[in-house]
């Protein structure tokens, strides 16, 4: 199999879906000093999307991702413990909110109901994708959180449960509710 060349990463950060074996290989290497770029190019968009759930702007989300990724790297955890990486992002995102009193007031509502200003950001290509993205943004927060981790970060339900501090069954249940809600909302009236 031809080795992947990530020299272009500085110029262009491509997002693509990896096969499981490739992904594991990449994840295993993210803790090394040299391979963090290639790994971040793979997981960065998903991490950013996950962080956007708490951040009001892309800039804030990038701050969160930067802090979490660097913190994770500094502790030199194995990246195959992906749940810990996402838990770190979540923890830093909540700290980020708490740091701002104005946002602290919003924290309660963030978990209680969907906030249309904090919807995930996607690069859609047509009207159907645009509607799908909007529908994802309108999901209840707990369902959207699981959906983002499952679809765009490719975590297992076990990992999702570990990252969010919920049981595996709860994660699976929320995922199914999310899909059901999406399907319901996307049906023509």
């Amino acid at each position: 199999m031809k080795e992947k060349n990530f020299d272009h990463v500085d110029k262009f950060i491509g997002w693509r879906r990896l096969a499981d074996k490739d992904r594991e290989k990449v994840m295993d290497n993210v803790a090394s000093h040299e391979d963090w770029k290639s790994c971040f190019s793979e997981i960065g968009p998903g991490l950013l999307l996950f962080a956007r759930q708490w951040a009001r702007s892309a800039a804030d989300a990038e701050d969160i991702v930067q802090e979490a990724f660097v913190k994770f790297w500094r502790r030199n955890h194995k990246i195959n413990n992906r749940a810990l990486l996402y838990a770190t992002v979540r923890s830093i995102a909540l700290d980020f909110i708490r740091r701002d009193k104005r946002r602290a007031r919003r924290e309660a509502t963030v978990f209680a109901e969907a906030d249309p200003t904090v919807e995930p950001q996607f690069a859609w290509e047509d009207e159907a994708q645009s509607a799908l993205a909007a529908a994802v943004g309108c999901l209840p927060h707990d369902q959207r959180e699981v959906l983002v981790l499952k679809i765009w970060n490719e975590l297992t339900f076990s990992e999702i449960g570990e990252a969010l501090g919920i049981s595996q069954n709860t994660a699976a249940s929320r995922y199914r509710y999310a899909l059901a809600n999406l399907k319901k909302n996307l049906q023509p009236q």
Binding site: V9, D10, I13, W15, R17, H33, W36, K37, F40, G44, P45, G46, L48, L49, A58, E62, V65, Q66, F69, V70, W73, R74, R75, N76, P120, Q121, F122, A123, W124, A128, Q129, L132, A133, V136, L147, I151, W152, R176, L179, A180, L182, K183, L186
Partner: protein, 179 residues
């Protein structure tokens, strides 16, 4: 779950927005900072380095102190030989010790001690009552003070210092006027 497979495929086709290139640069910068100073491995290295530096620093300081003390001792020995170390009554009235009359001006300046302080500590005061001096009808109150006097000189060129401390007793007569 199979009912949602089409929807899942549609969701997977949605692509999250890319992180900005600036984020990549910022993380790279943060990573570089970690490598130079904050990663666990580096912290251990830096810790060892600091202990090593501390050891060398202490050793250097000890050597410097020994050299300084040796120099002071040498200077004091030289001063004794030059007959200036003995405390004479005149030294009490002259705060600056007489400098050694050297062969040249440089030697004189290096041996010059300048008064850097004088202290007088009264550790006992005794009132010895009224007394009449001979041939005087006015009473005098006699007070006796016991003190510890300390004189200190310093050589600015060598940093050496000389301190003389001695006990003294002083009797003060205060005229008392009757009302």
């Amino acid at each position: 779950m199979s009912d949602f497979s089409e929807l899942e495929n549609d969701l997977k086709a949605l692509r999250p927005t890319q992180p900005s290139p600036v984020l990549f640069e910022r993380i790279e910068e943060a990573m570089a900072d970690c490598r130079t100073g904050a990663s666990p491995a580096r912290q251990r290295e830096r810790s060892r380095y600091n202990w090593l530096s501390l050891g060398f620093g202490l050793a250097a300081a000890a050597v410097a102190i020994v050299l300084l003390l040796a120099r002071i001792n040498t200077d004091q020995t030289r001063n004794e030989n030059a007959e200036i170390a003995q405390v004479s009554p005149s030294s009490q009235t002259r705060p600056v010790l007489p400098s050694v009359s050297g062969v040249n001006g440089e030697a004189m300046s290096s041996n010059k001690f300048i008064s850097s302080g004088t202290t007088q500590v009264v550790y006992n005061e005794r009132d010895e009552g009224l007394h009449f001096a001979d041939g005087s009808r006015q009473p005098l109150r006699r007070l006796r003070y016991r003190t510890q006097q300390t004189w200190q000189w310093r050589n600015p060129s060598t940093g050496a210092s000389l301190r003389v401390s001695y006990p003294s007793e002083e009797v003060v007569l205060i005229p008392v006027s009757g009302q």
